[in-house]
Amino acid sequence: MTAEVVVTRQPPLRHRVPLGPRGPLGLLVDPMTWRAAPYLLISVAFGLAWFVILSVALPLSLLMIIIWVGLPLFVLTMLLWRGGAMLERRLLRLTLGVTIPDPYRPRPERGVARHLGWLFGDPATWKDLGYLLLLLPLGLVEFFVSMVLWACCVALMAQPVLVALGHTTVITDRLVVDNLIESLPWALGGVLLLAATLYIVRGMAWLHGTLAVALLGPGDEARVMHLRASRARGVDAAEAERRRIERDLHDGAQQRLLAVVLDLGRAQAKLDSHPEEARDLLAQAHAGTKAAITELRDLARGIYPAILTDRGLDAALSALAARAPVRVDVSVEIVDRPPAAVESIAYFIVAESLTNMAKHSVATEASVRVSRQDDRVVVEVRDNGIGGAEPRPGGGLAGLADRAATIDGALTVESPPGGPTLIRARLPYEW
C-alpha cells in the first residue's frame, strides 16, 4: 500500500568488502581508521605543547596574584586553554569523527564580575584544563604504541622486498633473513600484525574519543538546561493549542449548532401555520447539523487522529498524504512502532509540514520518509516548491521544533530561496 520512494545509494566500500564493516578488511578501507591513525601519532605534540604552556603560565599567574597582575594573567591563560579545547574539539571531529558541541554557558552581556563568574563558575572551563593536561600522558602512550606497531608492520611486510634488493636482516646471531622463502613467513606475520594494529588503533581512537566526550562535552548540565527551556516552550505550545481548539469550537461547530436550534425553533412555530416554510427550515437544520458534524470530525482528527493509535504511522501518514492537495509519496521504513508520544510528534510534524507546503510553497509534489538511524526515528518531508520556509517564533515550524525538543528530538529546516524544502526531524526511538 505504501507509495514507494526508493532511495538506492551504493553502500560505502567498507560494507562491500568481505568480512564486513567490523572485519579487518572493513577497517582497512574505512577512512575513519586513516584519519585516526595520524592523530594518535601527533596528539603527543599537542599534549607536550599544552603541558609546557600550562606548567609555566599557571604557577606564574598564581604566584603573581599577590601583586594583582596575576589575575588578568590567569584569566588570559584560562581563555587560552578554552580556545585550545575548542580547537581540539574541531580537530577531534575531523580525525576521530566524534562531534562534541562547545559546552560553555552563554556569555553575560556586561560587567567584569559577571564575566569572571562566567569563566570561573563554568565546570566546562575546568574540565577543559583537565583534558589538556591529560593529553600529554595519553598522547605519549598513543604515540609509542602506534609508532612501534606501525614500524613493525612496515619492517615485517617489507622483508621480501628488502631480500630481493640484496639486503640482509639480522634479527639475532642465529636468526638471519637473507632469502625470499625465509622472508615470506615474516611478511605474513607482518600482515597479521597489521590486522591487529588496525584494531588497536581503532580501539585507542575510541577510548580517546570517549574520554574527550566526557571531558570536553556538555555533560548533563547543558542537556538539562536545553530540556528545561524546551519543556517550557512545549508547555506554551500546548497552551496555545488549547486556545486554538477552543476558538475553533466556538467559531465553528458551536455557531452552526446555534443556527440549527434557531431553525428548528422557527420550524416548530410555523409547523401549523406555514408547513411549507417549516419544511424548508427543517431541511436547512438538517444540512447545518451535517456540516457541524463534519467540522467536529475534522477538528477531532486535528487534535489526535484515531488511526494513528490503531494502525500506526504508515496508515496515518498515508491517510494524511491522501488528503494533501498534491501528490505525496509516503515511505515508512520502520518496523517496530515507537512510543505513542514519538508517533504523535512525527505525525504532526508531517501534518504541519504538508499544510505549510500547501499554503506557501507552490510545490507540485512532495515525499515523506520515515526511517530509523540507530536509536533515532528520522522523519523527512521534502517538496519541490519555492523554498524560503523558516521557523519564526510562534509560527508552525517553531512550534514543531518545540514539540520535538520536549522529547529530546531536533528539527531542521533546509529551505533555500528557490527551493527545494527539506524538513527533517530526528526523534528518539525510546521515550
Binding site: 500500500m1 458534524i293 484515531a306 490503531d310 501528490r327
Partner: protein, 215 residues
C-alpha cells in the same frame, strides 16, 4: 429483516433502532460492546449486523475485530460497519478479507435516512457499500502517468460510484444518464485500466477497489 446492532452510544443506538423500525426493519438485539455482538449473532443468527468501529473496552477498533469474529462464527453474515472516521486502511482490511456483504460508512450518513436504509438493504442482500470519503481517499492516491489520468471526467465519476458499490441502475439514476450509457462508460474504464469485465456488481467492486488500493 432481522438486525443486530452493536453501538456503545445509547443515544445513537436507540436512534438507529427507531430509524430501522421506520423502514420496516426489526432489531432483534442491541449491544454496546464487541463480545456482546458475537454473543447476539450466535443467539439470533440475524440477516445483518450494524457495528460501530470504536467501542469499549479498548476504544480502538474493537467493533471491526468483533465483526470479523462474528463472520467467522457465521460465514457470509452481512456486516455494515459505521465509524466516526473513515480511513482507507480499514476499508481495505475489511474488503481484503474477501468480503461480500460488507458495508463501511461514516456514522453521519444515518442523517440521510433513505440513502442509509438503501445501504442497509444492499449490504443485507450481499452487496458492497463503501463510503464516498474512502473512495475520495483512494482516488487521490493516484500517481503521475497512470492509466487513471486517461479517464474522462464522466468515467472518473462512474468509477467513483462503482467503488462505492453502486449498481449500474443506481449510477444511471445518480448521473441522470441511461443504463446503456453507463455500460459504455464502464467498459471504457475497464478497457483503459486493463481490468477483466466482472460478471456481478460485487466482484466488480472488489476489482475496482483492488485496483485503486492495490490490496
Amino acid at each position: 429483516m432481522r438486525v443486530v446492532i452493536a453501538e456503545d452510544s445509547v443515544l445513537l443506538r436507540e436512534g438507529l433502532i427507531r430509524l430501522l423500525a421506520d423502514g420496516g426493519i426489526d432489531t432483534v438485539a442491541a449491544t454496546g460492546d464487541g463480545p456482546g455482538l458475537v454473543a447476539a449473532v450466535r443467539e439470533h443468527r440475524p440477516d445483518l449486523a450494524v457495528v460501530d468501529v470504536r467501542m469499549p473496552p479498548s476504544h480502538t477498533d474493537e467493533g471491526l475485530r468483533a465483526a470479523l469474529e462474528a463472520r467467522a462464527l457465521m460465514p457470509g453474515l452481512p456486516v455494515l460497519v459505521l465509524s466516526q472516521y473513515v480511513e482507507e486502511r480499514y476499508a481495505t482490511e475489511l474488503i481484503g478479507r474477501g468480503a461480500a456483504a460488507v458495508g463501511y460508512l461514516l456514522k453521519e450518513r444515518v442523517a440521510d435516512v433513505a440513502e442509509f436504509l438503501d445501504a442497509v438493504r444492499r449490504v443485507a442482500a450481499g452487496g458492497t457499500v463503501i463510503d464516498p470519503e474512502v473512495v475520495v481517499q483512494l482516488l487521490s492516491r493516484r500517481r503521475h502517468g497512470e492509466p487513471l489520468d486517461s479517464l474522462t471526467a464522466r468515467e472518473s465519476e462512474v468509477l467513483g460510484l462503482m467503488a462505492e458499490g453502486r449498481s449500474n441502475n443506481a449510477i444511471a439514476g445518480r448521473l441522470r444518464i441511461t443504463d446503456g450509457a453507463v455500460e459504455k462508460h464502464i467498459s471504457g474504464i475497464f478497457g483503459k485500466l486493463g481490468l477483466d469485465p466482472a460478471p456481478d456488481d460485487h466482484r466488480r467492486v472488489l476489482a475496482v477497489l483492488a485496483y485503486l488500493g492495490r490490496v
